[in-house]
Amino acid sequence: MIDTEKTSRLSRFLDNDMVWSFTHSPMAMAAGIATLLFFCAALFAPIIAPFNPFDPAQVMLWDGKLPPAWADGGLPQYILGTDDQGRDLLSTMLYGGRLSILVGLAAVLLGMVLGTTLGVISGFAGGLTDVIIMRIADVQLTIPGILTAIMINGFGRAFLPIEYHNQFAIYFVIIAIGLSDWPQFARVTRGATMVERNKEYVQAARVIGLPNWLIILRHVLPNVMRSVIVLSTLSFAIAIISEATLSFLGQGIPSTTPSLGTLIRVGNEYLFSGLWWIAFFPSLTLVLLVFSVNLLGDKLRDILDPKLR
């Protein structure tokens, strides 16, 4: 009995209009697959990467600044060349991308949980609670997210003695980006919640006598989730850019365990001396990663939530 129910749910899922639109849109599929590949590369970085860039035994300082394998002076074992400290660029990038994706995910998760919770409460409760939460969100929304992130990050670091900066950098970055992100989620979920709250199925649940928290959990949240998923995808792209930007500005992930942004910052210093590859490959990876996530988010929005902008 349970089994047949499950299979019917699966077939219902595959038969669904939205899944159909997704699997029949080449762009959406391409974006989905590309994003998946990036995630796999990040997940399996320790297996795929030819070197471990954080193992001092594997890093040869005299191999520093070597161009890609195909260029003059390149060595075959360093396919994309090496960075200034003699680390294999491809391996460093794999680990860097892993870090970028990790920070992005954690930041979005923070922003999503915080924003969605506050947004749903705000939209459902209305009244003074709503006014207070949304005023705070409005105030924060006046200032663009990246600037908020830079400031939160900068001020957070200001509290800490300089010695600890590198050690805690990653947490600061995650918190800064997550906190700069929540008003978006709050705004969208509040709007969606208010729409759902006034629908009659919520009234019906009230008549039955369900307490508010159960109504929110069982009825409102599942219906708001669509917008949240779309927004999370788009925010994930922005979070990756924000992390890279912070790191590029020297305010983010330190160069001992570089993320993509850190690598680009280092590469930028060598650009004028013609060492183009140190900046080029991480930049390309970053842009491709962000582009595929953005494309995925864009298509998901078209399919799941055409009204959200």
Partner: protein
């Protein structure tokens, strides 16, 4: 009037919150004494200093003093540059504002034009191309764009300078780089870099608004009355997109100020953004606090201007 009053209240609230954050930074982050006292100061010296600085007063008194100083334009002295912060900002401001202004013009002109075009002809291949490339534009981080432009036009082709403002002309209180050829050559790359992201955002939002309006009943009714496409597109549709588009443009000018921090760093543009990033690096609290307050003030100014524009555009707000 009630509407404007409400907005002013909100703006006041924003400024109070931001100033408080700024004040808390100023007072509680790091130890202001350590940067002001001589190396060999005793505990008694520190106490005297604390008294002199009023650090033993209640928090509200200190906040009041901070605000009184801020209103008079006094934010203390930069730890790093040993210069009054106000002077520092004033000398850096023209560079940032000129950069933002030029980028804003590029972003608005290109973004709105392309957005309207895509909105009116959503099916044509040109708008499809524009739309797809705009997604790439959104995905291109500002600093990557800057590095790429520098590498192509400054390092490889050597056509344009890679950093600085070039020649400036001193107009008394304002040093401008917009009156020299060299200045224009210098501003070109940073302005394009800065405007790219905002251009694509404006484009996408204007297009979406345009499409939304084109679906409205009054457009269908206008069509049913036999009005020409021209009258419908520009007379009815465009005007109705104006309200949301104004918001978008306001937000995007705000975005330009935010991203100027990054652009100025990439191009070593001597503006307030670069100053701020350097201050963050050195934990130069007075500069950071003042910049925060200054930027918040700018945003408030922008959002008030946008509200005022609503008031002019939308009779529903004006006449209610």
């Amino acid at each position: 009037m009630r509407y404007l009053f409400g907005r002013l209240m909100q703006v006041g609230l924003v400024m109070i919150v931001v100033s408080f954050v700024s004040f808390s930074m100023f007072n509680f982050v790091g130890d202001p004494l350590s940067s002001l006292l001589p190396e060999d100061a005793t505990a008694a010296d520190a106490d005297r200093m604390r008294d002199a600085l009023g650090l033993n007063d209640s928090v509200m008194t200190q906040y009041g003093r901070f605000m009184a100083n801020a209103v008079q334009g006094n934010f203390g002295i930069s730890y790093r540059l040993k210069q009054p912060v106000t002077e520092l900002i004033a000398s850096r401001l023209p560079a940032t504002l000129e950069l933002v202004a030029v980028s804003a013009v590029i972003a608005i002109v290109v973004g709105v034009t392309a957005g309207v075009f895509c909105g009116i002809r959503p099916k044509s291949w040109a708008s499809k191309t524009i739309l797809s490339s705009s997604l790439a534009g959104v995905s291109l981080p500002t600093f990557v764009m800057g590095i790429a432009l520098i590498y192509i036009f400054a390092v490889t082709l050597k056509w344009l300078p890679s950093s600085g403002r070039g020649g400036t002309v001193d107009l008394g209180v304002w040093k401008t780089s917009l009156l020299t050829v060299d200045g224009w050559r210098s501003i070109l790359l940073p302005a394009i870099t800065l405007s790219l992201f905002q251009t694509t955002m404006i484009l996408r939002l204007v297009r979406a608004e345009m499409l939304e309006v084109m679906r409205a009943d009054y457009i269908k009714f206008a069509r049913a009355r036999g009005l020409t496409d021209r009258a419908i597109n520009f007379g009815h549709a465009l005007r109705n997109t104006l309200v949301p588009v104004t918001t978008v443009i306001g937000m995007n000018i705000g975005g330009l100020i935010a991203f100027s921090v990054i652009t100025e760093t990439v191009f070593q543009w001597p503006g307030t953004g670069l100053m701020f990033i350097q201050a963050v690096g050195f934990v130069d609290i007075p500069v950071m606090a003042a910049y925060l307050l200054f930027v918040a003030g700018l945003f408030v100014l922008i959002s008030l201007t946008v509200d005022l524009l609503y008031f002019l555009i939308d009779p529903r707000i004006r006449l209610s």
